[in-house]
Symmetry: C3
Subunit: 466 residues, 3 copies
C-alpha cells in the first residue's frame, strides 16, 4: 500500500495532506449508516470462509465479473428455482482472482487490497497465481479469536456502527447484543419501505403484520401511523436507533390533507391504486415520517433514485440485490417541496439527503441544504463512494453549502472487513481536498486541521445524534 495514496502529487500539497490525515489518525470510526448483519455481533461466531466473506455477498464484485461474461452461478449465487450453482468455495475464489484485473482503477480494488494487507497482513499481490495462498491465509485467520466480529470491532476502533432493519424486524439480534453486556455500540436503523411502498410484494400483508406487531390494526391511517410510532419507539428502545432510512425510487413528497391521506391509504391497501397513486402514497409517507421525526427526534435519511432490479431476467431468476440497481435522474427541487413546505423550517428536524445523480449536487442539493435548516447532505453514495466520486462531491457542494451542511462519511456496506478501508479512503480524500484548499489559498491551515476533525467524527456524531 502506497502510504501517500490518494494525496495530491505535488510534493508540498502531499506533505500537507499527509499531515492533515495524520492529525485524525486517532479518530474512531463512526459508521452511522450501513448494512452489516447484527447477528454477527450477537453471536460473535467465526466468519465461515473467504469466499462467503468477500465474493458472494459483494454486489460490486459479482456485477463486475458478470459484466464480463462470468455467470452468477459460477460465483456461487444460486438461482431461486433451485437450479445449480457452484458450491466449491475455492473454485469460486479462483474465478474471482482470475478476473481481478477487471477491478484495476476501481474502489473495490482499493478496499480489497487494503483489507488483505491490513486486516490479514498479506504482503503479496492478489491474483490468479496467489489466489489459493490467499485463501489459505484468510481461512486460517478466520478461525482465530482475533477475527471474530467483536474483536474486529475493537481492532477497527469503531465507536458506533448502525445496521439497517426493516420495520417488520423483531430486532432479536440487537436485543441479544444489548443483553450480552458487550460494550460495543451496534445500533439499528428504522427502514419502513416494506410498509410504506405499495410496490413491495405482499404490501397489504406487510402492513397488517406491522400493525399487529405494534398492537394495533391496519383499519385506519391513524392507527397505521400509530403503529409507526410504536415501532419507531421499539427500534429506539431495543435497537438504540437514532435514525430512519427511506429508499425510494424518486424524491417525491406529498402534503395531502388528512382526508385525502386516509382515502389514499385505503386505496393502496386495497391493491387498486394505480402507479401515480402508489407514488403519491410513498411521497406522503416521507412527509409523515418527517413529522414523526419531529415528534421523536429520529434523524431521517432519504436515499432516492435507484431503479431497482433493472433486469427482469436476473430478478426472476436470482431475485433482488444482484447488482442490477441502476441510478436515475432525480429531481429534488420540485419533489421535496411539499415536505419542505409542510415542515422544512422546523429547527429540530434533521433530514439527510443522498443522491445517485451527481448533477443534483451543485444545481439542487447544495442550494437546498445551504438554506433549509432541516437539510443536510449525506456523503457520496454507492457508485460514488470512491476517490473521484468524493472529490466531485466536495467540489460541487462546498462552495454553496459549506462543510457544515454535510454529515461526514457513511460506509453503507455489508462488507464488514472493508470498513476500515472505506473510512481510510474517505479520510484521505478529505485530507487531500483540505490540503488543496489550503495550497490554493482558499482555506487557512488552522481551519483545515479543525475541519479534519469535523469531517472524520464530529459531523457524523452531530448529524446522527450519536
Amino acid at each position: 500500500m502506497n502510504p501517500d495514496r490518494l494525496f495530491p502529487p505535488e510534493p508540498q500539497l502531499r506533505a500537507l495532506a499527509r499531515a492533515i490525515f495524520d492529525s485524525a489518525a486517532d479518530a474512531p470510526i463512526l459508521s452511522p449508516h450501513g448494512h452489516t448483519d447484527p447477528r454477527w455481533f450477537a453471536e460473535d461466531a467465526a466468519f465461515p470462509d473467504p469466499t462467503q466473506l468477500f465474493v458472494i455477498p459483494d454486489h460490486y464484485v459479482f456485477r463486475m465479473l458478470h459484466s464480463q461474461g462470468v455467470p452468477l452461478e459460477s460465483l456461487g449465487i444460486a438461482p431461486q428455482d433451485g437450479g445449480p450453482a457452484e458450491t466449491d468455495l475455492r473454485k469460486i475464489w479462483q474465478t474471482f482472482a482470475d478476473h481481478y484485473h477487471l477491478f484495476r482503477g476501481t474502489p473495490s480494488r482499493l478496499w480489497l487490497d487494503h483489507a488483505f494487507a491490513t486486516v490479514f497482513g498479506i504482503e503479496e499481490d492478489f491474483g490468479p497465481a496467489t489466489a489459493m495462498a490467499f485463501y489459505d491465509r484468510i481461512a486460517e485467520a478466520l478461525t482465530t479469536p482475533a477475527f471474530r466480529p467483536r474483536a474486529l470491532y475493537k481492532r477497527f476502533d469503531i465507536e458506533a456502527l448502525a445496521t439497517t432493519e426493516g420495520a417488520l424486524d423483531d430486532l432479536r439480534w440487537h436485543k441479544m447484543i444489548r443483553d450480552s453486556g458487550w460494550d460495543g455500540r451496534v445500533i439499528t436503523t428504522y427502514r419502513p419501505d416494506a410498509v410504506t411502498d405499495p410496490d413491495t410484494p405482499d404490501f397489504r400483508k406487510n402492513v397488517e403484520s406491522f400493525c399487529a406487531m405494534a398492537g394495533t390494526d391496519a383499519g385506519s391511517f391513524a392507527r397505521y401511523l400509530d403503529a409507526h410510532r410504536a415501532r419507531r419507539a421499539y427500534f429506539r428502545d431495543i435497537g438504540g436507533a437514532t435514525a430512519t432510512d427511506h429508499g425510494h425510487p424518486t424524491a417525491t413528497t406529498r402534503n395531502l390533507s388528512p382526508a385525502a391521506t386516509e382515502a389514499l391509504y385505503q386505496k393502496v391497501l386495497s391493491g387498486r391504486a394505480d402507479a401515480a397513486e402508489r407514488e403519491d402514497f410513498r411521497g406522503q409517507m416521507l412527509t409523515e415520517m418527517a413529522k414523526l421525526s419531529l415528534e421523536d427526534g429520529m434523524v431521517m435519511q432519504i436515499h432516492p433514485g435507484s431503479f431497482r432490479n433493472h433486469s427482469t431476467a436476473i430478478f426472476d431468476r436470482f431475485g433482488r440485490d444482484k447488482g442490477f440497481d441502476i441510478p436515475t435522474r432525480t429531481d429534488y427541487v420540485r419533489d421535496l417541496r411539499p415536505l419542505l413546505d409542510a415542515i422544512g423550517h422546523e429547527r429540530d428536524l434533521r433530514i439527510i439527503l443522498f443522491t445517485l445523480d451527481e448533477t443534483a449536487y451543485a444545481r439542487e442539493l447544495a442550494p437546498l441544504a445551504g438554506v433549509y435548516p432541516c437539510l443536510r447532505l449525506g456523503p457520496a453514495w454507492w457508485f460514488h463512494d470512491s476517490f473521484e466520486g468524493m472529490w466531485r462531491y466536495r467540489q460541487m457542494t462546498t462552495e454553496t453549502a459549506g462543510f457544515y451542511n454535510t454529515t461526514g462519511f457513511n460506509d453503507d456496506t455489508r462488507a464488514y472487513l472493508s470498513i476500515p478501508a472505506r473510512h481510510d479512503v474517505a479520510r484521505r480524500v478529505d485530507a487531500a481536498y483540505l490540503a488543496t484548499l489550503v495550497g490554493t489559498g482558499r482555506l487557512s491551515e488552522t481551519d483545515a486541521f479543525d475541519l479534519m476533525q469535523d469531517l472524520t467524527h464530529r459531523l457524523a456524531r452531530q448529524a446522527y445524534r450519536l
Copy 2:
C-alpha cells in the same frame, strides 16, 4: 491573503499563472451586469454601517446562517407583517461573526476576507473574538470621504458599472448621476420581467402603468410593443443602457404568429390564461425582445432556470429574495429553438446566455454558442460564481465554443464592496486556467497573455457594446 491564491500548486504553473495575472493588473474593472443601487452614485452619501453593508442585504450570507438554524429575524431581516426583528446592528454583526466558520471553503469567505483586507486594510482574522474591533474599524472608515460610493468607484478602477432597473423605473437616480456631471460611468439595464411575466403580482396593472409611462395604452399588443420601444429608448437615453436582462423560470421561447400573439396578450392581460399560456407569453416575449434588440442594438441577456421563492413559508413571511431561489434543470436546445429559428442568424443580434444548470455547458450551451452567430455565453453565474464553478465553466465550454464565444466576467452583485474581490477571483481563475493550458501544451504562452487581455476587459467591452 495568500498572494498566489487560486493559482495551480505546481511551482512552474504557479509562476506562469502569476505572470499572466500580473500582466492584466492594470486592466480596469468592467461590470456590465450587476445590482448595485444607482442612488449610491447619485447621492454619494456615506454607507450607514457594517451590518447594513455586509450582512442584511447579502443573501449568500444570511442563507448560510439560516441553514444552520439562525433565524432571519436575528439577522435584522424583518417579517412583512411587522413582527419583531433584531435592530441592534452590533448584535447582528456579532451573530454573523460567531458563525463565520460556516463559510470555510466558500466564495463568500474569499470575498469578505478580501474586502476586509484590501478595502479596509484590516490584517487580523475575522471571527467571534475580533467582531467588534472589525465593526469599529469599518464603521469609522465608512464615515470618511474615501469610502463614499464615488470615491470607491475610482479606487476600484471601474470603467463602467451597470445596474439593473425594472421597466417601470423612472431612472431618477441615473438622471441625477448624469446631471451631476460626475465622470463615472454608471449605466442601467432594461429588465422588463414585471411586464413580460404574467406570473408577476399585479401584472395587468404593471402593463397599464408601463404603457402609460410610454405615452400609449395597453389596448393592443402592437401598442404594448411600442411601449417597450419607447421605454428601451428611455433606458438608453437617460440611463445609458446598452443591454436588457430577462430572468425567466425556463429558457422557453416561442415564435407565434401576430394574430396568435395578440390573442395570447389579451388573454394574459385578462388574467384568464392558464400556466401553459403564461409560459407561452413569456416565451413569445423573449423572441419579441430579441427582435427589438435587432432594431435598437441592445444586447439581450437571458438568465433562466431559477425556481424563485421555493419556500412558501419564507415568502409569505419575509417576501422575495431571501435566499430561497433554487436552480432547476434547464433545456436550451429545444427551448431556444423558436427564437433561433426566427432570428438566430442575424449577425447584428447579440444574446448572452447564462445558466444555473452546469450540465448544459458541454451538452447544450457550448455547442449552441459555438455555431449560432448571435449567441454568447455569459460567465459562471450565481452559485457558480466561485473558483470551482468558473473552472468547470472553462473546462466544459472552451473546447467546443472557444474563448471568443464567451463574454468575460460579470460580478452580478449588489455587494458593492465585494466587486474588486469578485473580479480578482475571476482573473485569478482565468490566469490559472490559461497557465494550465500552456503547461499542458494546449496553448502557446503568447496566446495566453493575449487571451488574458480578452478575458479581463476586451470581451466584456465587445459583448456589451460598452
Copy 3:
C-alpha cells in the same frame, strides 16, 4: 509541438506519463469507427488542395467561424439553391487563417497544428501572415506520391480503418479496394438509419429500394428483416464489416410482439404513423438489429442523442451536416431496458454505447456497462473527443465500469490527415490518466503499462472483433 503536451504538470507524474505513452509508441492505429471516404483508398488519387482537405468538409472548423459571423458561403459552402459561394480556394484558406485565433484552447487547434507539423513538417505557426506559405507547402506535398491515401495509411501505421456506409450503398469502392489486392484493411460499417428511421426523407422509397437490393420486397416485416440479413451479409462479405452503427435521436428501444411490429411496420411505410409511432419503430429496430447481431456476430454501435439540423434556416439553405447537430439529454436506463430485457444477457452479443450527454457517464452508462455482459462503452464522442472530454470520461466511468468495459479510442472522423493527431491525443490522455492513478496510489505501475496496451489497441481489436 510540446513533446510533453497533455501530460500532468507535476514533474514525477509527467515523467511517468511520458514513459507509459512511449511504451505504446509502436502500437498501430486501429480506427474501428469513422467517416473517411472509401473512394480515396480505392482510387488512391491525390487529394485536391489544402482547402478542400482541411476547411470545407470539417464541421468543427466552419461552425466555429460561422459562430463569429463568417458566412458559410465565404468558406466555400454552397447553398443548395445554387446561390453563390466563394470558389477561390486560397481566399477561403486565408479567411480560415485570419480566424485561427478562435480555435485557441480547442481540440481542432491541436489536431491542425499536429497535422501541419508532423504530416507536412511545417515548423512555423499557422496564422494570417503564414497562410499562403502553408497553402503552397501543403498543396505541393499533396501532389507527391507520399501523400496519396494509401501511402499515408502506411505512414500513419494503420492496422484497420472502418468507414461507414448506408444500407443502400453498393460498396463499389470497398469492392474495388478488395479487388485491387492492396494489403491495407479498409472495411465498411453497416449504417441502416435511412431504412430504419421513418423520419428520413423518402423513407418508403428507401425501404423498397433496400428490399429490392436484397432480392426481396417490402411487403412484410419478415421480408424487410430478411433484407437486413442479406445486406448485413453483403457488408461483411464485400466490405469486411464487423460492426453496425445506429444514429438515433434518442436511446429508445422497444420489444414489441411480432404482430405489433408487423402492424407498426405497415403503418410507418404508409406514411400515416405519428411521431410516437415513428419513435416506436426506431426503438423496435434497435432491438431487431441487436437480435440480428446475435445471429451474425456483428458488433452493434448506438450513437444517440443528437438533435440534427437544429437550425431550420441553415438546413433549408445548405442541407444537413452543417455544424448544427446539437446534443440533447439522453436517458439510457429506461430507454434501453426493452432491448436489454429482450436479449441483454446473451454473452455473444456486443453493443457499444456512445453519448453526447456526459451526465449519463457516472449515473447511467458506467452502472449499466458494469453489469450487463453485452454492453461496452464507446470512447468520448464528438464534442467530447478532446482532452477534457476524455478526462471526464475516464474519471466518471472507470470506478464503476472499470477499463475493461470500455473499447479504446475511435477517431470518428472524415478528416483523414487528423487521424494520427486524434489518436495521439487519446493516447496522451490515457497515459496521463494512468500515470495519475499510479501517482496517487490507485494503480500499480505494472498494471498501468499493461493497461496502456489495452487502451491503445487490444480493447479496440476485441470490442470490434477485428
